[in-house]
């Protein structure tokens, strides 16, 4: 399935993009998406437990993803 990742602030600058699409196996969780993101250029620094929102709502990392979900990384407090 395909999900959309939104990047803001320091993550947007590190990845040099505000959004990207990610191809994931069925039954992937938010945590699986984060693990994949860490392999992308500039995002190796992603913390083990990033704060995320799915479809504009704060979400746990264990949430099961569905095709078309919009996953936003919410960098907290201070970074960069």
């Amino acid at each position: 399935m395909t999900v959309t990742i939104l990047l803001f602030a320091v993550y947007r600058e590190l990845a040099n993009t505000a959004s990207l699409d990610l191809e994931l196996p069925a039954e992937a969780t938010v945590r699986d998406a984060m693990d994949r993101l860490r392999s992308l250029p500039g995002l190796g620094c992603l913390p083990a437990e990033p704060t995320v929102a799915v479809n504009r709502e704060y979400s746990s990392l264990e949430r099961d993803l569905r095709p078309g979900d919009e996953i936003a990384l919410i960098p907290a407090v201070a970074g960069g």
């Binding site: 803001f8 602030a9 709502e57 907290a76 970074g79």
Partner: protein
């Protein structure tokens, strides 16, 4: 956003334009004995470093949703008649208003407590980031603090 949560008039929005407090102050009716206004302003320093400018970046759709949720929760918890919150986005110079919260209520305890609750929740939950530009040319991103939930 529910415009009449708990009987209160509730307005929350992001704004790319300067915040005009004079207009916000006309909130409420003569049934309200107390009005509090909180404004956040761009400070000329942060943790001892001179700041020259700020830029706010928002996850707009989610920020508006969270702000509406914060205001509805607040209007459900306290008896108030008008609750309005505006958060700036874009580039702000020193002294400009970054956020304003207006509460009109029959009693002053309510007006203070509801106002304080709203700003704390905004700082904690709103997906808005500020990039501080320092006098030495460096910049730093500061975001919400949802882990303090």
């Amino acid at each position: 956003m529910a415009p009449e949560a708990g009987g209160a008039r509730v307005i929350g929005r992001l704004s790319d334009d300067p915040i005009r407090v004079e207009e916000l102050l006309r909130a409420g009716s003569s049934a309200d004995g107390a009005v509090t206004v909180f404004v956040g302003r761009v400070r000329d320093h942060n943790h001892g470093r001179p700041v020259i400018r700020l830029h706010y970046e928002a996850y707009g759709e989610m920020a508006e949703r969270e702000l509406a949720a914060i205001l509805d929760e607040t209007a459900g918890r306290w008896t108030l008649s008008h609750l309005e919150a505006v958060h700036r986005t874009g580039t702000l110079e020193l002294g400009e208003l970054s956020v304003a919260i207006v509460v009109a209520a029959p009693h002053r305890a309510t007006a203070y407590e509801a106002s304080r609750h709203v700003i704390e929740e905004i700082k904690r939950r709103l997906p808005i980031w500020k990039r501080e530009e320092y006098a030495d040319g460096e910049t730093e991103w500061v975001g919400p603090a949802p882990s303090e939930a």
